[in-house]
Symmetry: C2
Subunit: 446 residues, 2 copies
C-alpha cells in the first residue's frame, strides 16, 4: 500500500533544515548536477514528452504548445537553471541590524519559508523553473503539474531525484503529486506546508483558495481596467489600450474594461474603435459609448467579466472620481492604468486606486516579474499580505531575528534605575554575523 | 433594528481611500485632536473606568491592574499617542525603485493594508494605542476589547468619534464591536477585513485562527526553550535562565523548557536548582536530571506545556543536535535561546533552529518590539508569512507597484528586434515620485 500523502509531506518537511542551513555553493552545485542529469536523460525526457503530446492531440494548439518540450526548449530551460545558479543567495540577507546595547546585536535575516506547495499547468519547462527556484532559495517543494504532462513530469522528477540522491538535500526534499486527490491532501496539510502557489485557470485557483487554511500566493482573476482621462493624448491612449488588449488577450494583465472621460470620448472613441476593429476586438459599450461608435450594448455582467479573449467593454464617465470608483468596485485589483497628461489627475489616480499595480501612461502588460526586473517570477499576488504584485524569489522567503549577547538579562533594563537601550541602527551591508561567525573572542562572565 | 455588522464593516471599508490618500499632517492633526478630546472627556472616562473596576471586584489583581485607567495612566497613554505623532510617516515609503527603460519608472511603495480587525484584552490603554497606530498608518479599524472594560471602551470610543467628526477621516473609519457575536461576524468578513490581530489568551487566539479565512497576525502560544551547551559559562547560564523564567512568568517570551548538555549538567544543575528554589520556581525533570537534583519527574505532557507560571521542565541531552531536534518538535517556534561560549555550537544553533527569534547568550525576554527598538509593537507573529517575530508598524502595511511611462507598450520589447529593458536599480532615498509629482514637463506623443 502506498504511503499516505501526509506521511510523504512530513518526510519532505524533515528536509527543511538540511536545505535552509546549506551553503549557496552546495545548492548551486546541486543545481548544476541536476542540469547534467537532465542532459544525460535527454532522450528519455523527449520521448516521454512526445507520448504526452500524442495523447493530447485533441487539445487546443495553445495547450499543446505549452506542453511541448523539444530539444530547443529543453536547452533553454537548462540555461535558465544556470541563470538561477548565477543569482545572489537569497538566504541570510541582513534585512535589519541594530545594536540594542553594547555586545547585544540584533539582526533580522532572510530564511526560507520551508515547504512550498505548487499546483501548475501542463508545462514541463515551468516544472523545472519551479524546482530550481525552490532549491536555490532553500525551500522544500511539493508540486503537481497538469495531468496532460504526467509522463514528462514523471521522467523529469526521476531524473532530478537521481541527481539529488547522496547530496546534502537528499531526494526527499521534492515530492511530485500525481492526482487531484493528492492535491486535496496537500491543501489539508497546514502545519506542514507553509505556502501554496497555484497557477492556472480561475477555477483551479478559486478551488485552491477555498479549500485550504494554508496561505495562498496568487490571483484568481485578472480583471484589469484602463482609464483614458480628458487630458490624455489620443495617440498614446489608443496605442496603450490596444497593446493592453491584444498583446496577449488570455494574460491576467490584459485589460477587460476601458473607461473614457466624456470630454475626450468623441475624439478618442472613433479612432480606438477603428484600431480594435482592425485587430478583431469586439466592443461592448454603455449607452453613451454606443451613441458615438457602433457597438453592442454592455450588460451589467460585462463590467465584471474577464473575457480572456478579443473582447472589451467600454464605459463613459463624467469625472476621474467616477473612474476610480468604478475600478474600486469592478476590477480584481491586479493592474489598473490611467492615460493622462494632467499631472494632478495622474497623481490622484496613482494614489487612490488600491491595486497591486497602478500604472500611468503605459500598457498594463508591463505587470510581470521579468519586465519589472525581478529575475524569476514565482507568481503575481493580488493579496495585500506577504507579497503583492509580481513576486520574485523574495516571495519564497521568511525572516528570523537573531540576537547575540554576552549574558544580558532583561531585569537590567527595567525599573527606575534601569540601564537604557542604545537601539543604534547599523548598516545592513555585508552578510549576517552568524554566517560570518562572531568575533570569537572569549571573555569572562560579565 | 440595529444595522448588521457586515453593513457596518462595509461602511468602515468605504473610508479606506480617505485614510490611505491622506497626508501625514492630516493624520497627525487628527491624532492631536483626539488627545485634546480625551483631555476634555477625562472625568467621564475615569468615572466609566471606576464603574468597570467596581464590577470587576471578583477578578484577579492582575486583570484589575490591566483594566484600571487612572489619571497617571491616562496621561501616559495620551503621551504615547504624541509619540506616535512624532514617528515617521509609514505611508509612501519607497521600498524599491527601478528604471525599466528611459521614462519608464517603477516604484514599490508602502500603502496601508486597509481594514484591521483587532480583538484584545480588557486594557483601555491598549485600546488607545491600537487606535493611534492604525490612524497613523492610514488603516481603518474594527476592534473589540475585553468585556470587563466595556464602559471605559465605550466612552473612549465616543470621545474619539467626536474628535473625528468633520475631519478628513470621518467617524466611520473606526468601529467598536460589543459582543462575541459581533466578533464572529467580523471573522466571516473576508474581502472586507484585511488582517486580524488577536491578543489575549491561548483559547481566544486559537478560536480566532480556527474561525476565519482572513490572515491572522499573532501567536497562540509561547512555548520557549533555552539550551545550555557544554561550553556555557555556568554563571551566565543561570542568570539568563532565571531571568527568562521569573522576569514575567506569564509572558509569551518566558521559557518553559530548559535543556542541558550532559557534560555540564553536574556543575550547572545544582546551582540552577538553588536559584530556582530561592525564587519559588517548581522544577520537573527527566530521569537523568532528577538523579542530580531533587525534583518531580516530568511527564510526556510537560515537554509541551506552557506553564505561564513559576514552573519549569528540565531535560538532559547528549548533544546539541538532540537539543535542536527537541526544539523543532516541542516549542512553538516563538523564541529559543542557546547559552554557549563555543562559537561553532552557537552558529549551529542560530542557523538550524527555525523560530521567529533565535538568541545566543541572553534572556528570551528580550523578544519584544520595544526592546528590539521597533517603536510601537502591534504583536508578535509566529507565522512565517507577512511578518515574523515582534511586529512594528510595518506589519500594518502592504505595498503597491507604481509604473509611470510616456506611452510605452509591451510589443516594443518583444520579438527578435525588440528594444531591451534597462532595469537600472535606483536609490530608494527620498519620497515617492507620486507624492512628489513627476517632473511636470509635457511633451508630444512619442
Amino acid at each position: 500500500m502506498a504511503e499516505s500523502i501526509k506521511k510523504q509531506i512530513t518526510k519532505v518537511k524533515m528536509q527543511c533544515t538540511a536545505l535552509s542551513s546549506s551553503s549557496v555553493e552546495q545548492r548551486n552545485d546541486l543545481l548544476l548536477q541536476i542540469c547534467k542529469g537532465l542532459q544525460q536523460d535527454r532522450n528519455v525526457i523527449l520521448e516521454a514528452n512526445a507520448e504526452d503530446l500524442r495523447n493530447a492531440s485533441a487539445l487546443s494548439e495553445s495547450v499543446k504548445s505549452r506542453l511541448k518540450l523539444d530539444e530547443a526548449k529543453l536547452d533553454s530551460v537548462i540555461e535558465s537553471i544556470e541563470d538561477v545558479v548565477a543569482q545572489d543567495d537569497p538566504i541570510g540577507k541582513v534585512l535589519a541590524r541594530r545594536l540594542l546595547d553594547d555586545n547585544l546585536l540584533l539582526e533580522k535575516i532572510s530564511v526560507p519559508l520551508g515547504v512550498i506547495g505548487m499546483v501548475f499547468e501542463a508545462r514541463p519547462d515551468a516544472f523545472l523553473q519551479i524546482v530550481s527556484l525552490c532549491l536555490k532559495s532553500g525551500n522544500c517543494l511539493v508540486l503537481k503539474g497538469g495531468k496532460e504532462a504526467n509522463r514528462t513530469n514523471h521522467v523529469l522528477y526521476e531524473s532530478i531525484k537521481r541527481s539529488c540522491r547522496g547530496s546534502f538535500a537528499g531526494e526527499n526534499w521534492l515530492l511530485l503529486l500525481e492526482s487531484h486527490e493528492d492535491v486535496k491532501r496537500m491543501l489539508e496539510a497546514d502545519g506542514l506546508v507553509d505556502l501554496i502557489i497555484p497557477r492556472g485557470s480561475y477555477e483551479l485557483i478559486s478551488y485552491v483558495k477555498e479549500n485550504t487554511r494554508i496561505p495562498v500566493l496568487g490571483h484568481a482573476d485578472g480583471l484589469c481596467a484602463m482609464y483614458v482621462d480628458r487630458s490624455a493624448f489620443v495617440g498614446k491612449a489608443v496605442a496603450c489600450a490596444l497593446d493592453s488588449k491584444i498583446n496577449y488577450p488570455a494574460a491576467c494583465n490584459s485589460i477587460e474594461n476601458l473607461i473614457v472621460h466624456k470630454d475626450i470620448a468623441k475624439e478618442f472613441l472613433p479612432i480606438m474603435a477603428k484600431a480594435f476593429s482592425e485587430n478583431n476586438v469586439l466592443i461592448v459599450g454603455d449607452e453613451r459609448v454606443s451613441s458615438i461608435i457602433r457597438c453592442a450594448r454592455a450588460t451589467e455582467a460585462d463590467w465584471d467579466t474577464e473575457y480572456l479573449g478579443l473582447e472589451i467593454s467600454i464605459l463613459m464617465v463624467d469625472s476621474i472620481d467616477e473612474a476610480i470608483d468604478f475600478i474600486a468596485h469592478h476590477t480584481s485589483h491586479h493592474t489598473d492604468a490611467i492615460i493622462a497628461e494632467d499631472e494632478l489627475a495622474m497623481r490622484k489616480f496613482l494614489t487612490k486606486v488600491d491595486s497591486a499595480d497602478v500604472f500611468a501612461n503605459c500598457s498594463t502588460r508591463f505587470a510581470d516579474g521579468y519586465r519589472f526586473g525581478l529575475g524569476a517570477e514565482v507568481g503575481i499576488s493580488t493579496s495585500k499580505i506577504h507579497a503583492r504584485g509580481p513576486v520574485g524569489l523574495e516571495g519564497l522567503m521568511s525572516s528570523k531575528y537573531i540576537l547575540q549577547g554576552r549574558g544580558q538579562i532583561v531585569q537590567t533594563y527595567m525599573g527606575s534605575m534601569c540601564r537604557p537601550f542604545k537601539h543604534q541602527k547599523l548598516s545592513t551591508e555585508g552578510v549576517s554575523q552568524i554566517l560570518n561567525g562572531i568575533d570569537g573572542e572569549e571573555e569572562e562572565d560579565e
